[in-house]
């Protein structure tokens, strides 16, 4: 019964720019639905590690306990381990209290101000029980790769004056952005259709230089320019086009409709991915592909559903036959 005809696509990828926390790439020969699924997954379903439970031992700072707990949760932690880690709710090693080594990382913070100057409590004061999980800005200091770490003072949690103290124990757990935005590994993920711009050269040459300049200026972004030697209008940056239709309207207003034709290539996408630093941007894309695969695998029909339907089919055929 199963036919073997496949309607599979063979998408191509081309990376334009790759940094630890930034990635720009082209995705070709696939559908918007796949591009958008990847975007949605990067934002809300790729797991990271974030502080989820805070036990405050002493807090005489100006901020209340909940306020500090919330600020701690929002600190991005290095989460390369997150894909292999267990969710606390699925963890059978710790009977659901979510405090074992398989599903959690413990942090301690103990700071007291004994000077006249205000003391900043930062992410650097968080002491991790697992060296692979720490605040991303602290990790960037030691590896020197990524962004400039020289004037990196850490992420400020609270400021203390003389005599104030903050002591706490925090449990970081694996989670996803759908649960709470603190677990989202992505700062921004965007994609756009690749534009395909055709200038009608013959019609363009009927314009005076002044008209050409006016037309080129009508675009809010710098897409076109005039070649200083030949005085031809050329496309300098097709991707700067924001699909605003301004140049098309301008051409019509000038009485030259069809001066330029702009199409969106609906199977070519330009992605930009910015990571919070929890995982590398390139790893984030790979994780998103993996998660989409897992999600699709999870929605396969179970054996008993298929069997039940086969029986139903037989019954149906029997009834029709009888």
């Amino acid at each position: 019964m199963e036919s073997t005809t496949s309607y599979q696509r063979f998408p191509k990828i081309k990376i334009r720019e790759m940094k630890d926390d930034y990635l720009k790439f082209e995705l070709h020969s696939t559908d918007t639905s796949v591009a958008n699924a990847l975007r949605r997954i990067m934002l809300a379903e790729v797991p990271t590690i974030a502080i989820d439970l805070v036990e405050i031992e002493a807090n005489s700072s100006v901020l209340n306990d909940e306020f500090i707990a919330h600020r701690l949760g929002l600190i991005p932690l290095t989460s390369t381990r997150a894909m292999e880690m267990r969710f606390s709710r699925d963890c059978d090693a710790c009977d659901g209290d979510g405090q074992c080594e398989y599903c959690s990382v413990e942090f301690h913070l103990s700071v007291r101000c004994d000077q006249d100057q205000t003391l900043d409590v930062t992410s650097a004061d968080l002491i991790s029980s697992d060296p692979s999980v720490m605040a991303v800005d602290v990790a960037a200091r030691s590896t020197s790769s990524g962004y400039d770490a020289s004037d990196n003072k850490g992420i400020i949690i609270v400021k203390l004056r003389r005599g104030q103290e903050l002591r706490l124990r925090a449990i970081a757990r694996k989670g996803i952005g759908k649960d709470h935005a603190k677990w989202s590994p992505a700062a921004t993920v965007t994609f756009m259709y690749e534009p395909d711009i055709h200038i009608n050269e013959d019609l363009m040459e009927t314009l005076t230089l002044e008209d050409k300049k006016n037309w080129v200026e009508s675009s809010p972004t710098k897409v076109f320019d005039i070649d200083p030697n030949t005085q031809h209008v050329v496309v300098v940056d097709a991707e700067a086009y924001t699909y605003d239709d301004e140049v098309i309207k301008k051409a019509e207003a000038m009485g030259k409709p069809g001066l330029v034709e702009i199409y969106a290539k609906e199977d070519s996408f330009i992605f930009t991915v910015e990571s919070t630093g929890a995982v590398k941007a390139s790893q984030l894309v790979l994780n998103a592909i993996e998660i989409l695969k897992q999600k699709l695998d999870a929605v396969r029909l179970s054996e008993d559903t298929v069997e039940a339907d086969d029986q139903f089919g037989e019954l149906n055929a029997h009834m029709r036959g009888g």
Partner: protein
């Protein structure tokens, strides 16, 4: 307070099937698949893949309500196929597509890019 747990949005409750299949009682080769705890991410990607199958006469999905964390995928096929066959086929094809994409991405990720950048800086 009485706020429901946040994880209810993505954890399938115990005793509930992830995918429930229901044949249409009046039209042959038509069926609905109720997928628990999924949204547009999976719904739209499945719908578009089903549209590539010429035996699929209709494929659509709906998210009935934003607070009911499920989607309903409806498939109507020609007599050459069946909703279940088209559904399985679309998942298999998407899985293969993603494997291909992943392999393509890993090639770029593993050194080829560094080589490429060196070529650019040299020329």
């Amino acid at each position: 307070m009485n706020a429901p747990d946040r994880y209810e949005r993505f954890v399938v409750p115990e005793g509930t099937k992830k995918v429930a299949y229901e044949r249409d009682t009046k039209i042959i080769n038509a069926a609905s698949f109720t997928i628990e705890r999924e949204d547009h991410t999976v719904g739209n990607v499945l719908r578009m893949q089903l549209h590539r199958d010429p035996n699929v006469l209709f494929a659509g999905y709906k998210l009935p309500h934003p607070l009911q964390y499920k989607i309903i995928v409806r498939i109507h096929t020609s007599s050459q196929s069946s909703p279940m066959q088209a559904y399985n086929q679309s998942i298999n094809d998407l899985d293969k597509e993603l494997n291909y994409l992943k392999a393509g991405f890993e090639v770029w990720n593993s050194g080829v890019f560094i080589f490429f950048m060196m070529m650019v800086t040299l020329t």
